[in-house]
């Protein structure tokens, strides 16, 4: 659905996006992660033909956005952080205005979408009377009007209360399930991305530092939670026996390839270390993201990814 190939964007002398290659497959909820200023919005701007790439190719729905923007965006809907509308006009009029930039839209279609997002009864009120949540719903409605195949959501949960965030999450899932949309979700809310996305890319300082499936992150490393009477002694023993490769936080060990938890327990018990608990630990996105950022901050010579799979390439 979206392909970026060696894309670069330089504002003045400052590179905002460097050598970005990205592929968003059809039917996925794809997360684009990164802190503020990482280059996410610039990348999205290039996908929508709002920002011209300095070099590289951006294709959306099979069309080059730079040369065939109208065809590329025919079936694309987008929502931006803090949705902005013509406040002095009604929600209905806003939808009418925005949808006509794509194609003439029937009143019936506008009604359907208003109903879908739950704004029925308020569509004739001026947008200035809308709450933030209602504006977000209106933004969603305008994105859905052209019956898109691809939805680009740039920080859609920004400024929403916990209830609104939950509602947005359910809506995104419903959109994918009921309409089969491909969704690109740009966010720095890691929990949301973790709950929604099937695949993610992480950007830092304009560069992509990771792209892969969410499942590969959860199982990125064979971490095991270990509770013993003497963690340091246990780690020493396990290292000596080549059963672990790493340890952290005084309670986690990374199993070596081919080693299993029963071998660990046997080794520790044999050496009089009391084992109270041992259980596999799934790494969450936050841990993964933070370790990626930590790795990226290190000087080039010292860079050693905290996770073996956190690399600049794509994971399977």
């Amino acid at each position: 659905m979206i392909q970026l190939h060696n894309v670069q964007k330089i504002f003045g002398r400052r590179p905002a996006v460097e050598d970005l290659t990205l592929s968003v497959p059809e039917g996925e909820i794809f997360g684009l992660l990164g802190h503020n200023g990482a280059g996410k919005s610039t990348a999205i701007g290039m996908m929508l033909g709002q920002v011209w790439p300095t070099q590289g190719e951006v294709r959306v729905c099979g069309f080059d956005v730079t040369t065939q923007r109208q065809r590329a965006l025919q079936k694309v809907g987008a929502i931006f952080e803090t949705p902005v509308f013509y406040d002095y006009l009604s929600g209905w009029r806003n939808l009418e205005i925005l949808s006509h930039y794509t194609a003439p839209t029937s009143k019936q279609r506008i009604n359907e979408v208003i109903d879908w997002v739950g704004l029925t009864g308020r569509e004739k009120s001026n947008v200035k009377t809308y709450s933030h949540g209602m504006r977000t719903r209106l933004a969603l409605a305008q994105a859905l009007l052209p019956q898109p195949k691809l939805l680009i959501l740039d920080e859609p949960s920004d400024g929403l209360d916990p209830e609104g965030i939950h509602e947005m999450r359910l809506t995104i899932l419903r959109l994918q399930k009921e309409m089969g949309l491909t969704i690109l979700l740009s966010s720095h809310q890691l929990k949301e991305v973790e709950l929604l996305c099937t695949r993610i890319a992480v950007m830092n300082k304009g560069r992509k530092v990771f792209e892969g499936a969410m499942s590969s992150i959860n199982q990125a490393q064979n971490w095991v939670r270990l509770r013993v009477n003497d963690f340091a002694a246990a780690v020493g023993l396990l290292r000596k026996n080549d059963l672990i490769t790493d340890e952290r936080d005084g309670s986690f060990i990374a199993l070596a390839k081919d080693s299993e938890t029963d071998q660990v327990v046997r080794c520790l018990v044999k050496n009089n270390v009391s084992v109270y608990e041992i259980a596999p630990h799934e790494q969450d996105l936050e841990e993964f993201y933070l370790s990626l950022m930590k790795t990226d901050k290190q000087p080039a010579g010292e860079k050693q990814p905290a996770q073996p799979t956190a690399s600049q390439g794509a994971l399977p």
Partner: protein, 280 residues
């Protein structure tokens, strides 16, 4: 589709209060001028003596059209440029500032088409503003002055004209129609600046500055020989329709030059807008 999109641009333009602030002030200025001419002792006497001095009948020429034309001149020279520059400067830059432009440009509409729609909306506004002014001036003046002939005296432009009956109304209407070209040209100037990556206020100020600098130079005696090179000389082409005999070659030349100006403003604006990045 084009009509639908233009209608939407007009909804946006005419839906906001900001658009009417200028018009409201304009009408207020006309009301003040007309009331002063009717109730101010000095202005009334001066007007009557002007008509008498020209050897014309006060009964015929002290009319609503004459009074409306008197109020028209200062507003067209000073207020009109101000308000159309404000609207032109807002057309693109205000949407960019508010963030709605980003919403529009996530749609499959070309930037060129969007700008043409906005320019057309600006042109419709210019026409509507001038027609409103003309109608309001003539109708409000009718409350205090009878209908009759049209007497025009603009010494700085060397214009002296008197028209009767239907000709008076024709001249009054044509002047307003041609004044739309003035309004549209200044709006286009504001629109051009608005297409650059600047604030709406900056676009308006640039357009107004351009106009007033041109106006000042046009009125300086040292530049008298260069008058035709200044845009204001052509912007005030409508004054020629108050002459007894219309200088058609001059009118045609000025209108062509203004068409060229409009096209140039539009092309520069489009080029600037096409190449710029739209970011939040």
């Amino acid at each position: 589709m084009l009509i639908l999109q233009l209608r939407n641009e007009l909804w946006k333009l005419f839906g906001k209060k900001r658009t009417y602030i200028g018009t409201g002030m304009f009408l207020l200025a006309q009301v003040i001028f007309i009331m002063l001419l009717e109730f101010g002792n000095g202005p009334y006497r001066s007007l009557v003596s002007g008509i008498k001095g020209a050897g014309l009948s006060v009964d015929n020429y002290l009319s609503n059209l004459t009074v409306a034309t008197i109020t028209l001149t200062p507003t067209a020279f000073f207020l009109l440029p101000l308000y159309v520059a404000l609207v032109g400067g807002d057309l693109v830059a205000k949407e960019a500032e508010d963030g709605t432009l980003r919403m529009i440009l996530s749609r499959p509409v070309s930037r060129l088409r969007l700008l043409l729609l906005k320019w057309m909306a600006g042109a419709v506004f210019s026409l509507a503003l001038v027609i409103t002014l003309g109608l309001f001036g003539a109708l409000f003046a009718r409350i205090f002055f009878p209908t009759g002939g049209l007497f025009v005296f603009m010494p700085l432009e060397g214009i002296f004209g008197s028209f009767d009956g239907i000709t008076a109304w024709e001249r009054f209407a044509v002047v307003h129609l041609v004044m739309t070209v003035e309004a549209c040209s200044i709006m286009s100037m504001g629109f051009m600046f608005s297409c650059f990556n600047i604030k709406p206020a900056a676009a308006t100020i640039l357009a107004i500055s351009f106009f007033f600098i041109s106006m000042m130079m046009y009125n300086m005696p040292y530049f008298r020989e260069l008058r035709e090179w200044f845009i204001v000389h052509h912007l005030f082409v409508w004054t020629n329709f108050f002459r007894q005999s219309i200088p058609w070659p001059e009118v045609g030349g000025s209108l062509s030059i203004l068409a060229g100006y409009n096209l140039t403003f539009l092309i520069i604006g489009c080029a600037a807008f096409q190449t710029r990045d739209i970011k939040s």
